[in-house]
Subunit: 127 residues, 2 copies
């Protein structure tokens, strides 16, 4: 192959956006970032691995919480600069205890409504 | 409100990733970018407006193809740095004629399989 898919060089600092979607329900769970190494480990381990910009290192999703994401399949978009992970989510995807990080609905006036219920108490998961 | 949600200052160059999802089927359609102006016009017009990095201007999705995205609702993630648009998609979201831009499945050996059928011939849509 001459063309690398996905094309990490197209991303800022070698990072591409990665969307995690529950393969069963279709719910969009979260958006995070991947570099080549994170994707390689995701494919070889069968569990979602991201690159944490705040920690500056690979982030094996669920390494602390146990809320891992088992890979069902990985998709790449037309421009090869965005990644979609279809996963089986263990527990809550969101560190705030919601099944999805997208638990707030934005209103036209700029306010937000919380539209999901907390699945777990974050204090019981993170120390 | 003291806190701006979403927080465009958290994005590179004032841009945040925006995911479009078909509100009916749950299919993830595409990933694009938004600045504050794009989001404001999305909310006021009721149709998805992105910021095109390649064109360096607002991109009213479907302005050429007619394949607009009617907003059902807009969601914001826990860190307020990613946006999820739940939409009614007219026609094909992808400029290559697929309903979703994520029409390729990535295999462990780095190759890809096209797993969706073309909905429309791009040549019939774009001149």
């Amino acid at each position: 192959m001459s063309e690398q898919i996905p094309d990490f060089e197209a991303g800022t600092g070698g990072l591409l956006p990665a969307i995690a979607q529950d393969a069963q329900s279709g719910q969009v769970l979260m958006m995070a970032w991947m570099n080549r190494e994170a994707l390689d480990e995701t494919l070889s381990s069968g569990y979602a691995v991201y690159y944490s910009r705040s920690r500056g290192r690979l982030w094996r999703k669920g390494e602390e919480s146990g809320h891992r994401q088992k890979i069902v399949d990985v998709r790449v978009d037309c421009d090869a600069d965005a990644i979609l992970l279809r996963v089986e989510q263990v527990g809550a995807a969101c560190h705030e205890g919601y099944v999805s990080c997208f638990f707030r609905q934005l209103q036209n006036d700029g306010s937000t409504d919380t539209i999901l219920k907390r699945l777990v108490d974050p204090k019981s998961v993170y120390k």
